[in-house]
């Protein structure tokens, strides 16, 4: 009797052990086998971006900035590498900081150099709100052309690089301003205007 029981028990243990292994394999397959993409799609715009590379080195991302050339009125693309993540807003802030810092190829920045980005918020509906320091309005005596260039360099840079951004609102020192220099209406959200971009 004793011996039979022992054999029955060890058989049970074997079956259970086998089931456990099968379950473990299934769990591993479930979590690694291609479900990641679906999970990522539900990530909110202000929640961390999926990291592009692991390891100790911070991930980087290439963005396209829009600058002015000396001899035409168009916006010219220039790429720049910025640190990636953790949020779209963080990356957007870095991209705009590079836009303000200026070109590495001799183009002209359409924004007054002392301008700072105070804050960026990206809502789930695609509306990015960018709050600039007062210098964006006071740093230049804008004409229509320079004011349009400043606004659309910002709007195009954000919408072009970040799919989570569809429209942009510009604030100055935390409040809605009618215009930067008397021309372009800042009280409505901007859609990008790539007609100002050089081909």
């Amino acid at each position: 009797m004793e011996g039979k029981k022992k054999i029955a028990l060890s058989r049970h243990a074997l079956i259970l052990g086998g089931l456990a292994v099968v379950l473990l394999v299934l769990i591993i397959v479930f979590f690694t086998g291609g479900t990641g993409e679906k999970v990522k799609r539900f990530i909110d715009a202000n929640v961390p971006n999926p990291p592009e590379s692991g390891g100790a080195e911070p991930a980087s991302k290439t963005v396209t900035l829009f600058f002015l050339a000396d001899d035409d009125d168009l916006l010219h693309k220039e790429t720049r590498v910025i640190t990636a993540g953790p949020t779209v807003a963080d990356e957007a802030e870095r991209a705009l900081a590079e836009l303000i810092r200026g070109s590495e190829k001799g183009f002209v920045s359409p924004l007054p150099p002392p301008t700072k980005v105070r804050q960026i918020f990206v809502a789930n509906n695609g509306l990015a709100t960018v709050d600039f320091s007062r210098e964006i309005a006071e740093g230049f005596a804008y004409g229509s052309t320079s004011e349009l260039a400043a606004v659309y360099a910002v709007v195009d840079t954000l919408v072009f690089n970040f799919p989570a951004v569809k429209r942009v609102v510009i604030l100055v020192e935390g409040v809605e301003k009618e215009t930067l220099g008397g021309h372009v209406d800042l009280t409505r959200a901007f859609l990008p205007d790539y007609s100002l971009v050089a081909k």
Binding site: A69, D70, D73, F140, A141, G143, S146, A149, E178
Partner: protein, 254 residues
């Protein structure tokens, strides 16, 4: 926000009642032209290397244009400012609407970051239309003729404010035609580079309830053009060119 709503209501509310009798479909005879000298007061606009300010040049050109229209066409002309004072963009539009303007001409001198940029161009309004606004515009365009007749006085205040805030959207086609004719004359008379007609979301144009354009006569940020802009002779040519474009437009519509 509430302050802005109240201000906008104050600005736009009196107009629809005053113009409710206008007939649909048929262009009213233009009796009043409103000229808007860009900037003014603390708001100087663009600056030139030699110290010229956009606000002074726009006023000088506007006064010359006013004299031309009054002398030759016998129309009434209203300026949104006739001296060096601040006027908000909303008030500029309100002045036009309250005087039942038939045409609105905003006069500016351009400025660019690059010194070399030059030439003259004429703008009319572009809409930063979001989906919601596009739907509302489609509704407006499909539901009859002149904006004034559409806004029932019993419409609730918020909606009325929104409609008046977009008053210009109904006149985009006429504004584009006016811009074209004025730009042709600028090109013929000024000898500056022809930058053509363009659309931009300019604040001063959004609330104007008649054909409206914004003229950018040469660049004050370009030293050569700044010197031209500062001369009375060039200012007179700008006024004459705008006047000729305006006459062609009036003949075409009346």
């Amino acid at each position: 926000m509430i302050g802005a709503l109240a201000a906008a209501l104050f600005v736009f509310a009196p107009v629809p009642l005053a113009r409710a009798g206008q007939t649909a479909g048929q262009a009213a005879r233009i009796q009043t032209v409103v000229i808007d000298p860009g900037h003014g007061g603390m708001e100087v606009g663009a600056k030139g290397k030699f110290g010229n300010l956009e606000k002074d040049i726009t006023l000088a050109i506007s006064l010359k244009l006013k004299a031309l229209i009054e002398r030759n066409l016998g129309l009434s002309v209203v300026l949104t400012r006739d001296r060096d004072v601040d006027v908000t963009n909303e008030n500029r539009a309100a002045i036009a609407n309250n005087h039942k303007a038939g045409l609105f001409i905003s006069i500016h001198a351009n400025g660019a970051v690059q010194r070399k940029a030059g030439g003259s161009e004429t703008f009319f309004l572009s809409l930063n239309a979001t989906d919601e606004e596009t739907r509302r515009l489609a509704y407006l365009e499909n539901n009859s003729t002149e904006l004034q007749t559409r806004i029932d006085p019993s419409t609730d205040d918020d909606l009325m404010m929104i409609l008046w805030d977009m008053a210009q959207t109904v006149y985009i086609k006429q504004s584009s035609r006016l811009a074209e004719l004025v730009q042709e004359e600028l090109d013929a008379m000024l000898g500056t580079r022809n930058r053509g007609i363009k659309q931009a979301p300019f604040k001063v144009l959004t609330g104007v309830a008649c054909p409206a354009i914004l003229v950018e006569a040469a660049f004050i940020s370009n030293p050569d053009e700044e010197q031209k802009l500062a001369s009375a002779a060039f200012q007179a040519r700008v006024a004459e060119a705008i006047y000729r474009g305006l006459v062609r437009y009036i003949r075409a519509v009346e």
